[in-house]
């Protein structure tokens, strides 16, 4: 899976940028700190934080392993430290600073996990993951009492399950929240249960994502026009990381404007500036 590299004044800021680029939530990514921010005198920032992140391969361990998981947790998070610490010390030359950086908790950095060397088993056939996803969704729509058709589009390891039928609004929910939860559960049922690490699985219900994307695209173009005409930056309303990604993607294609995200979820928003 592809890594993206980002920078920011703090590790949190760099992480936010990465999440936007990847269009996922923080617990869906692996994050590695490449460089801690260096503080200059009087709180001036001398060097930016640099991290790399990727969408986390879905995780599963065989059941036997899972039971042992608890005892292993502590040693496991330690395992990744030596390499990390060395890298930081080489760069910052100040071990107490890197220790300080490491103890930062409460932020995004605590989600950092060791690279997954301990993947077990053979790769899972993406077609099987797709089948499991479709059968989960079919069971779910019929449990809801809806008549719907469930289809799978597969492009190698990219899987998209689409559900269409009448009255599916209940499965989309306000602002797509139920749809997001359903997608989460499809991933657990199909990817994690089968031990799949490689597929990208998305769910769309009643063309919600398709429509949402189209309206976000139109919105992004509107904002870009406004920014170009006025020459002044515009901050849009807070939105989810997936939505922000759509905006960034569209705005990146438009000359004369640039975009970045600012603020903390759930108030994180896209800022569009003239270039």
């Amino acid at each position: 899976m592809e890594w993206v590299e980002t920078t920011g004044k703090t590790i949190e800021e760099a992480t936010e940028q990465a999440l936007d680029r990847l269009g996922v939530d923080v617990d869906e990514v692996d994050i590695e700190v490449l460089e801690e921010p260096k503080n200059g005198l009087f709180g001036k920032t001398r060097g930016e934080a640099r991290i790399r992140a990727r969408v986390k391969p879905a995780e599963v361990r065989p059941k036997v392993d899972r039971r042992r998981g608890r005892d292993r947790k502590a040693p496991r998070s330690n395992e990744a430290k030596p390499a990390d610490d060395n890298a930081q010390q080489e760069k910052s030359g100040a071990s107490e600073r890197s220790a300080g950086g490491r103890s930062r908790s409460g932020g995004r950095s605590q989600d950092r996990r060791p690279p997954r060397e301990e993947r077990s088993g053979d790769p899972v056939d993406p077609a099987l993951v797709g089948e499991a996803a479709v059968s989960f969704m079919e069971g779910l729509t019929s449990a809801f009492g809806f008549e719907a058709t469930v289809e799978l589009q597969r492009d190698d390891t990219d899987l998209e399950v689409t559900v269409n039928g009448a009255e599916l609004g209940l499965m989309v929910g306000h602002g797509g929240r139920t749809l997001v939860a359903i997608q989460d559960l499809v991933r657990v049922a199909a990817q994690r249960r089968l031990g799949d690490h490689d597929t990208h699985l998305r769910v769309d219900i009643a063309k919600y994502r398709e429509r949402r994307r189209a309206s976000l695209e139109a919105f992004a173009k509107q904002i870009a026009e406004r920014v170009k005409e006025s020459g002044r930056p515009v901050a849009v309303d807070p939105m989810s990381s997936a939505d922000r990604k759509v905006l960034h993607d569209v705005l990146a294609e438009i000359d004369g404007v640039s975009s970045r995200s600012e603020g903390e979820d759930p108030d994180r928003r896209v800022l569009v500036s003239p270039e």
Partner: protein, 86 residues
């Protein structure tokens, strides 16, 4: 799963989801307790499966609740969902 309660859709959806994510679907039971306009749904799973149902930092449990509550709105009731280890 009790049949004939006022939260049929919610119970069916909840049962389907939980059976689909555990290692041992046979051990999954959903018990429905009618309590006026609220319905309690107690989910029991086999040994070792509770972790899968709860997920990292409770994320899977939160998703299960969201989807089950959506289903419950079709039944016209509010539901409380509890996950229990056997």
């Amino acid at each position: 799963m009790t049949v004939g309660t006022s939260a049929d859709t919610a119970a069916a959806v909840l049962t389907h989801i939980v059976r689909s994510i555990v290692d041992d679907p046979e051990q999954v039971t959903v018990e429905t307790t009618d309590d006026g306009d609220r319905v309690r749904l107690d989910v029991r799973v086999g040994p070792g499966d509770l972790g899968r149902v709860i997920g990292r930092r409770g994320r899977t449990a939160a998703s299960i609740r969201t989807v089950t509550r959506a289903a419950a709105s079709k039944d016209g009731v509010e539901v409380d969902i509890e996950f229990l280890d056997d």
